[in-house]
């Protein structure tokens, strides 16, 4: 345990290296769209527009939609 003090950390956290855009882009495109689709189903499906018929999705997430601030009905 005493060993932990042995290293005086002179290294104040420097500015972190940036991640290259080329590495971010594929993840951002695929997962960005996937996440937006999820948000659409929580926030708007079977409200203003519908992918599926009926009101099951709307009714299931009804309370979440109200409390998360989406226009519900």
């Amino acid at each position: 345990m005493a060993q932990t003090v042995a290293q005086p950390t002179a290294t104040t956290p420097a500015v972190p290296a940036t991640l290259p855009l080329k590495a971010i882009a594929p993840w951002a495109v695929f997962f960005g769209i996937l996440m937006l689709v999820l948000l659409y189903f929580v926030g708007a499906e079977q409200g203003a527009t519908s992918v599926f018929n009926g009101t099951d999705v709307h009714e299931w997430v009804h309370d979440a939609r109200h409390l998360l601030g989406f226009p519900c009905h």
Partner: protein, 253 residues
């Protein structure tokens, strides 16, 4: 290797979003649900006046307020956690001299403001029985428009701040960028149509409590996310030197 870092951050973002979603769910259930129930009570008491098609109950109230609420809030948390993690990958080292933890908290604070608070101030959350079903299309469009506008303007303001920083210094560049953001948002508030569909005799205190609880849910969600994701990102990107042999090398994997 960089791609793996992005993937690791994305996974951590979604996990942190899930954890923050659990906290937000707790807030939603304890603070929000009582107001939702009272608002539905109001709706039913006035059902004869408004011919509202709520006769057929597709999902029972007890399911809506528990499993349904949980599904919505948790999916929301995971989805925004993933998006925020991707934004973090981009922002890290680009917005200023901030480490992973500070960047994460700054990002989630900005997200709370731009994704939620700014649209909320123009088109606030409404409890059941507030809102005319015939205008749902218009209200949904306006709400998402306001959200998109706010996020795009926040990105633009950040770029403006970065550009002004060399000449004005960080402090004044930030002040000018935030002021520009506020000014354009103010214009949007002034020119976008007003929506007020609160029925007559709807209790003002109930509306206030509902909206306050909606705000609290988001504050818990984004606050929790910023702290949780910041910690996970810090551990991933700046691992603590485990032994006296020196700093663990993050590039080793």
């Amino acid at each position: 290797m960089n791609s793996a870092t992005v993937r690791n951050l994305l996974v951590r973002g979604m996990l942190a979003g899930l954890a923050a979603g659990v906290l937000a769910l707790l807030a939603a259930y304890l603070l929000g649900e009582p107001s939702v129930d009272k608002a539905i009570g109001f709706e039913e008491a006035h059902a004869h006046a408004h011919a509202h098609e709520h006769e057929v109950e597709v999902v029972s109230r007890s399911l809506q307020s528990t499993a349904g609420l949980a599904t919505g809030v948790l999916v929301y948390g995971v989805a925004f956690g993933g998006i925020a993690a991707l934004a973090f990958c981009f922002a890290l080292g680009r917005v200023g001299r901030f480490g992973p933890r500070a960047t994460a908290l700054l990002l989630s604070g900005t997200a709370l403001l731009t994704v939620y608070v700014v649209p909320f101030l123009k088109y606030p959350a409404n409890p059941p029985s507030v809102g005319d079903p015939d205008t749902i299309g218009k209200r949904t469009t306006l709400y998402f428009l306001m959200m998109l506008l706010s996020v795009l303007l926040a990105v633009a303001a950040t770029m403006l701040g970065k550009r002004l920083a060399p000449s004005l210094g960080n402090w004044w560049a930030t002040v000018v960028a935030v002021a520009a953001f506020a000014a354009v948002i103010g214009l949007a508030y002034a020119f976008l149509p007003v929506v007020n569909e609160v029925p007559e005799h709807f209790p003002a205190t109930l509306l206030w409590r509902f909206r306050l609880s909606a705000l609290a849910i988001q504050a818990v969600l984004w606050g929790g996310f910023g702290l949780a994701f910041g910690e996970l990102a810090e551990r991933l990107l700046n691992p603590k030197p485990a032994t006296a042999t020196g700093r663990a090398v993050p590039a080793a994997h």
